[in-house]
């Protein structure tokens, strides 16, 4: 598994210039360039497939996550003091993230609108009405109703509120599972 992930990672890094070249090539004019683009397009397809696989592995495999993301997250744990600092910083980040996600979730389901009332429908001489509402949809509503798309991932695109809710659940569950596991190890 680890070796496989390592191969994917190496391929993603080494194949990136070819992906960029394919995108930059645009619509080729000569036959030679068309041939090159054909080859690059196959690479592009394979590269994206590997990227999806890698991103899924990141979520599923804790080991891969650890190796790939500690550098990006700038986690330094060379000794116990740095581990302690990381723990403290993680705690603050966790709480801060959670508060931000809850705020974003609230804003994604909360709506405020000020409407101008039509003539003759004024209420107590007032021409405007305030509408405050809460609305939650699991899937994102398809705005482009005229499209002839039969199937696409956007058909089942999750709404912003759902994504935020999933992130909140993910954070809480990962924390609690990890904490329980560590308690189990210690007892």
């Amino acid at each position: 598994m680890n070796r496989f992930v390592r191969y994917i990672k190496t391929y993603l890094i080494l194949g990136l210039p070819l992906v960029i070249a394919c995108i930059l090539l645009g619509t080729p004019k000569t036959n030679f360039l068309k041939m090159v683009q054909d080859a690059l397009s196959w690479n592009l397809m394979f590269w994206f497939l590997m990227l999806i696989l890698f991103l899924v592995t990141l979520v599923v495999s804790a080991n891969t996550r650890e190796k790939a993301l500690t550098r990006i997250a700038n986690l330094k744990e060379r000794d116990e003091r740095e581990q302690f600092i990381t723990g403290k910083a993680s705690r603050i980040t966790y709480i801060a993230n959670l508060s931000m996600l809850i705020l974003l979730f609230f804003f994604s389901i909360f709506s405020v609108g000020i409407y101008r009332l039509p003539e003759g429908k004024t209420i107590n001489g007032k021409h405007h009405a305030l509408n405050i509402g809460l609305n939650y949809n699991f899937f994102d509503s398809n705005k482009d109703s005229d499209s002839t798309l039969v199937y696409g991932t956007q058909t089942f695109a999750l709404s912003k509120a759902t994504i935020i809710l999933m992130l909140i659940s993910w954070q809480l569950s990962v924390f609690n599972v990890t904490a329980r596991r560590e308690i189990g190890k210690a007892s």
Partner: protein, 73 residues
């Protein structure tokens, strides 16, 4: 390690022992397998080590933990 409010602070004489032995912070850090920043933090009293590290330091200086770490200012 964090200090719980109301508990006495733990002081140490690591700096003194290090200087007596003619060691640099880097030397001591390598010997007890921590970073130099940790030695600096220990000497300043900004960080209380784990029991494991305290034992390693005591073992390195060939003395008892109580002679290096003590409760006080």
């Amino acid at each position: 390690m964090p200090r719980i409010e109301g508990t006495p602070s733990i002081s140490n004489c690591i700096q003194k022992l290090r200087q007596i032995n003619g060691l640099t912070q880097e030397d001591l850090a390598k010997a007890v397998q921590v970073t130099r920043a940790t030695i600096i933090a220990l000497e300043k009293g900004n960080y209380n080590p784990s029991l494991e590290l305290a034992f390693r330091i005591a073992k390195f200086f060939k003395t008892d933990i109580q002679k290096i770490f003590y409760i006080g200012d």
